[in-house]
Symmetry: D2
């Protein structure tokens, strides 16, 4: 069966990645692409890497133009999708790649985002370790999906197995991420110019103010944590794509490296897209470029009493567009891996 | 007055940076450069950026050739400088850019390095906050200096003010560093090939095994810590030079951001080369390239109860060669900033 | 129908790219992978981006192990494939990704490569403009394919349409290429270290000595040139993958930009993988990363009397592994685009 | 003696590099810095690598504020300096880092720039090979200097010796340059975002339309050429700074590599900042970063009948700010190398 698809925000990085992946998806057929300032142009002239889309033209981003498709992907700036989504049919599968429908708690939204609060949609990390049940059960048949934050995915997938298995403290987790600038989109800011970023590393959102912080806490509570605190600092480094999260947590008494590795391995034992590496191996972001894969390696720092978990993923693929398509596959009852690959483009 | 200088290991990155800086130093005059496999070649053919050295030829690295200079810089692989240094006159100022003379505790050496233990030399971070006195007092007039580890400098300078002022716990410090590959030298390893590193981030020495860990602990004990634990993870990112350390520590009860910023600012109030940024500003490594500067910004993550300190420096300059020359200036009684700059090469 | 496949040299960059692409190829099934020093290891431990290959183990590169497959890809250093290929059955489709079977003229081989000369195999650029006929006719049903040189592909595809249409001089062609280091393989040389390449551009094989020079001349003669001279200079730049060739040739009297664009467009009118951009557009290598696409833009420098052609491709994909698979598809009678994509991974 | 200095456009990349270099210049003392949108801010907050400037505040860019200094550097967008410079005293030494006063021929200006034509000032490449005399003679005592275009410098210095010595044709010169994006300034354009540039190479100003083209022709005519044509194509590559120009020209009959190398070596025999490498060596841009050095290597492509000249320089230093200061030194009668270095910051 073939489903008709519209993508709003097709001129951005996230929308472009949805389109790149859907070009190889046998059951989701892109019919409509929309944009704001680029409306009226050929998609291929704005996204010249998407050669297969030929003469498809970008239309305006309106509910009218998006309506009438089986599936709608929203890849819009935060705060833009709530009002638009409210106008789409309840029968349409809508996947929001933005933040508007991720948080369940209005206080979190107010503290980290602000503006109108929209109710949470089904969360799009199928592999998220939960204290009971499976995230896939929630995704099956849903009509509204909130694709996860890219940094939130990298940290949540890295550390939730330890929470689920009660091997670590969920308080005083510390995570520092090396991230590429594509996560910031095509915003015209001096800080995102190539001359500023090449040859340099710089931190941002320092001091607990990154917007993905409450999303991570929400995920870890679902994994079984009573109380959570995560100190998270992203560091912008000179690579277009990729997140490498270094996440550490205090281990509980008596926990050994073997127990840790066994728990992590069990949590993702049957997952195609989340893979725990053998002890002694740690992932590189290059190995996940363009793939829907999150790779995880872990070690025990005995002196510090902390597990150190390294997780790597492509912020645009597993971090955004791949997770969106994977979740949509589940919602539609299509095999979950359809249109996605585990193999990265390296070197 | 002019001092004659020899540099051993002049064909490597650290030795090259010593030479680049000494080219602008009015009182230290390079007479002799040595190497191993490159001996017999012109320096300029191995280090083509060092144009000012004209036809100077690399000689063999022997005690005989190094002898007879006022100052000798050793920029050799770890484990190579101990035996060589033992053959140099006690009247010669010797600065070791390697690790051989940094650690005071043989157990630390055995646990993290191995091989023959050499006694510690005067440690070359003049600005290191101490519980009493000043590191400059130890450096004045000394004839043996151990230049610090680059990552150890970035973390120690970042967090020692909080230890010194008793505002933070010295246990459960967590630091993650974004580092460029020049710190690994010119080693011919697949992992250091450009194709492997460009477009990728990867962690190494994960799990508390990085060799700079005991050096940091040693520094923090000198700053006043009774007990220390540091979980340190370096992440290799695609930039030639630079270290951006994100170091977090639990604050003590009642500590505010203002108190923290005041303590850090006081610790480096008169330092030309260690600068604490105004609140809300955080450093970029690009701003320190080629400079002897360490820039520090800090924030308080109130939810996590941790101070987050971002420190940036150039691993080859303030992290190695600049610290070596700064320390040598002090030892010789030359004004400390001679031959060094605070201004980075950006963009 | 499914064909069994073996890949020799599976631990290198070219072999890795063949494997990455074949993972998505429905009719070519990888059974055997071989290597030299890495034999005995899991493929995934040497090529950690190739997650889909699970526990497949690298075997020794011998004719015995490679025998018995329908298709064999050789991704070996130059000079290594001739003797090995001679031992493989004439019924096996063998594709050589190295240079050993590209040149038809022994003098060219002796001048640019040296060592034993091997007879030329069917050349693997299906789209190559010829003075008569089509390269696809030669590829259909062949059992021996020489995949082209990556730089030779970028220049030949860029300029052959002008030769074929008799609009330019084939003498005094000048081409300068920006190339990433992955084309040089995993060789352990100081010049290929990340610290040496990041933040720098450098030329190599300057002065007409690059080995792809006679291959380009051979291609242009097939396109109709009586006499050919190409001055070619590759410049190594800090990106893992990609070739951007800037190729200029003197135009013949009376030739206009419109005529040029029409001829180039006609030459590739029905090609899925070679696309001529609208006038005023020029390609970026990022748009071809991981894709089997060569993008071409052209302009007329009226003052200089030269057409300026910009061509972009991924040296590992369209430049090597993609061309190899595309050619193998034709040889086997499989639809030519099977297992290949036109869409690049950008940003 | 100390000269007072003002810099207009101090918040940009060129102005920043003038400031970085002047920080180490013993006779030029920066008193005033100006900007447009950044006026009122501390210089150090806009240019955080310029630590030595402490609390110096950016003022508005007006003739009134710039007046009363001995030396004024203008680092403004093209078209902005003409009117401003006209209001400055004829006794003030004014160095324009922009294009407004480079071209002597109004037709060239109209064809490549447009807007009001300003008369040419003394051209700021002291080493430019001329058919008679020396560019230094013109610079000595002048009060108006036009700093050269960075690409024009790289190509002119590369090829003028061959024109001067009558060894090459000045028609049908072809040059392709690998350039970093800092030459484009801090313009907020999508094409200059880090995500667009990292991992990619792309050409611009293709087809003979780059604005430095007439400046190069003007330089080569001064070197003795009767007729000139240069096909020039810049390629943007992922490095912040640097230009590597590959320039080829047809040799005249009977010219050998030895003759070429001898002529080039003679042209720059006594130059501190332009160095011709031994035969077989070619420069890398990294070796010139932050230095006022232009490195040149050359080879003869006998088959193509072309000399191939590789020249490397830092677009912000020798390409702009370094050339400006070097020329100002000459104009003021200060030793020419004051405040400048030949040593690059590598790796």
């Amino acid at each position: 069966m073939t489903y008709s698809v519209a993508i709003a925000g097709a001129s951005g990085y996230a929308g472009g990645e949805v389109l790149r992946l859907l070009a190889g998806h046998p059951e989701l057929e892109v019919r409509t692409v929309t944009a704001h300032s680029n409306a009226g142009q050929r998609l291929i002239d704005v996204q010249p890497h998407l050669r297969s889309y030929g003469d498809l033209v970008l239309q305006d981003t309106t509910a009218e133009i998006l309506s009438g498709h089986d599936v709608v992907f929203l890849a819009l700036p935060h705060g833009s999708s709530g009002a638009l989504a409210a106008q789409l049919s309840a029968d349409t599968l809508v996947i929001d790649c933005g933040a508007d429908h991720r948080l369940e708690d209005k206080e979190d939204w107010d503290a980290f985002y602000g503006g109108e609060f929209n109710s949470a949609w089904t969360y799009g990390i199928p592999e998220l370790p939960l204290s009971t049940g499976s995230q896939r059960e929630f995704l099956a048949g849903t009509k509204r999906i909130a694709a996860p934050g890219c940094n939130a995915s990298a940290i949540s997938l890295a550390i939730a197995p330890g929470v689920q298995a009660d091997l670590i403290d969920a308080v005083d987790i510390v995570s520092v991420l090396s991230v590429g600038p594509s996560g910031a989109g095509k915003s015209l800011k001096v800080d995102l110019l190539a001359s500023e970023i090449m040859g340099s590393a710089s931190a941002y959102a320092v001091g607990g103010v990154h917007r993905h912080t409450p999303e991570i806490a929400q995920n870890l509570r679902k994994a079984g944590a009573a109380e959570v605190s995560v100190s998270m600092t992203p560091v912008l480094v000179p690579m277009s794509r990729g997140i490498l999260a270094t996440t550490t947590a205090r281990i509980k008494p008596g926990v050994t490296l073997e127990k840790l590795h066994a728990a992590w391995s069990a949590a993702y034992a049957n997952e195609p897209f989340v893979q725990v590496l053998p002890l002694g191996q740690f992932p590189r972001t290059a190995d996940t470029v363009g793939a829907n894969t999150c790779l995880i390696g872990l070690a025990l720092d005995e002196n510090a009493g902390r597990v150190v978990v390294i997780s790597a993923l492509d912020n645009l693929t597993k971090g955004t567009a791949g997770a969106a398509i994977q979740s949509a596959n589940i919602a539609l009852g299509i095999p979950e891996t359809t249109g996605l690959t585990t193999n990265g483009v390296a070197p």
